[in-house]
Amino acid sequence: MRILRINMSEETPSAKFEELGDYEGLGGRALTSAIISKEVDPLCHPLSADNKFVIAGGLLSGTAAAMSGRISVGCKSPLTGGIKEANAGGQAAQVMGKLGIAAIVLEGKPKTDDTYKIFINKEGVKIEKDNSLKMLPNYDLVQKMKNQYGDKIACISIGPAGDMKMSAASVAITDMEGRPTRHCGRGGVGAVMGSKGVKVIVLDDTGTTPRQPKDPEAFKDANKRFVAGLQKHPVTGQGLPAYGTNVLTNIINEVGAYPTYNFKEGKFAGARKISGEVQADLEKQRGGNPTHGCHRGCVIRCSGIYHDKDGNYLTKQPEYETVWALGGNCGIDDIDKIAMMDFLCDNYGLDTIEMGATIGVAMEAGLIKWGDADGAINLLHEVGKGTYLGRIIGNGAAFTGKAFGVERVPVVKGQAIPAYDPRAVQGIGVTYATSPMGADHTAGYSIALNVLKTGGFVDPLKPEGQVELSRNLQIATAFIDSTGMCLFIAFALLDQPETNQALIDMINAFYGWNMKDSEVMEYGKKVLKFERDFNTRAGFTKQHDRLPRFFYKEPIPPHNVVFMVKDEELDQLFNW
């Protein structure tokens, strides 16, 4: 496996392959964060030539391991000003792995305003100027690439939001059907790709074979045990396949942790209408599909295909956080309109969480009314078109809050807080406050224990035990994000030690390592250390590891609680 470096500063951008060297043994988030932490000036402007844009598959990407299609992108974030790793499913990680590429690093920046496309196959790398791609939405762009390079490609691309270097711009990854539906959403990673002048990276694995393990028999055996464990566990074997992540709408709403009307209330009257149960039924009725993988090799298949009222493809099955952000958070309870917004965000290349939180702030400002789905759709079009208003919205909740003089802005380190209220679920508040990524539920998903009773139960309404919970989850997650595995395997890993062991055995068999469970935690800590270290050098202090003040002052109904974890305790999170 090698690193492919592409220097975009040169008149004719050049590509060179190099060995992993010091980065040997790192994958996914570990690799992106190590490269950013070691090679990028933490004080650089995120959109400058000094920032780097790193794309990495995980340790097991491109192998026969189930669930190993996660891809990470990393850079200094224009949204948070700190280090960023955002990951997604889709086909690209597998293809990159099979091409023998551990990471693609885009460096420098073109001196002109030109747009480039990069084509990579087993013969090599072609970098071409193609200004006809500028401002194309993702679906049109990908179709154009398919017309040119054939249907078997995988694409990594940006939409107009990335072209315009907006802080809510995502990076799209094509799924099994070759649609740009899986997004490295958070932190404005699309803006950084846009600043490099790269619109799309087209990957073609024709003529390649999967990466081979050091010990094929042990690898096969571990993979079998791993898959059996995922199929046995009720969340990964039944719940996620049947309803997808949106099964959470009803649960989170019933426990009063569903932020509504820009975090004013913890319960939404319209929740049932936009729940996973309703969504799955609609998908079945209209000829979509509620049980579908986002990449080949996924055995959980939490994704799905959403059709419109006429039975035509509209978008992939919107995730819980998307349905919350663009739905309940804004008082919108029309699932078809939410699905339309999901499509628009994918097409324009926008983070659905940041957009939903931003529209919530815009509603708070009185720009449009609560519950106005058409108004919200219109705002997304403004972003896609790049009008002055669109450029405000497209830069996220903090920016929009400032532009319209709004006090209640739900962000940490500039990044919007997702779908779980940190007052009603105190553990997730600790993760939001302390994660080097800014507010990010996936960084330490305490909901598993605080609400879903997976791996144990920690009372969500009390501050006790939350720092330790978040710490352990953040460390374990940093490791999983480095393997290329989808984080949803964690439900089974938390409850079934034998499935956890199967994953470690699989990695050991692949690399010929002898990693123990305790070393897994050391690996995760190493990743977090890269990230914390970068942020410290970028100017972050412990005061940045806090929630916005209103979470400490305004009790949220129905539990009428505030965030109670003390600052001194938050400061202990990385003290392991």
């Binding site: 009720p234 019933e254 729940s275 149960e277 609400v451 879903l452 409850d495």
Partner: protein, 82 residues
């Protein structure tokens, strides 16, 4: 005493109970009984795993209900496993 029971994640009661306009089960009880007993009475298609009483994740199923309590039930497929 009247309590409301909400079923989610594909849970269904195996006999008919009176429902409110939301489609939730309305149970009239003459005396307070334990949440666990109520779950038994419902004779559900799957065993509920997450039991929420008035917005709080219930750990002790011997807790007795009060008038106007709301119980929300989810199968293990919707959440945890143990």
């Amino acid at each position: 005493m009247r309590i409301i029971i909400k079923l989610f994640g594909g849970l269904k009661a195996n006999r008919d109970f009176p429902q409110n306009e939301e489609g939730d089960i309305v149970l009239e009880l003459s005396e307070p009984i334990a949440v666990g007993e109520i779950i038994e009475t419902l004779n559900l298609n799957k065993k509920p795993f997450i039991v929420i009483l008035n917005g709080v994740n219930l750990v002790d199923f011997s807790t007795k209900v009060k008038d106007r309590d709301e119980i929300s039930l989810f199968p293990p497929i919707a959440g945890g496993y143990r």
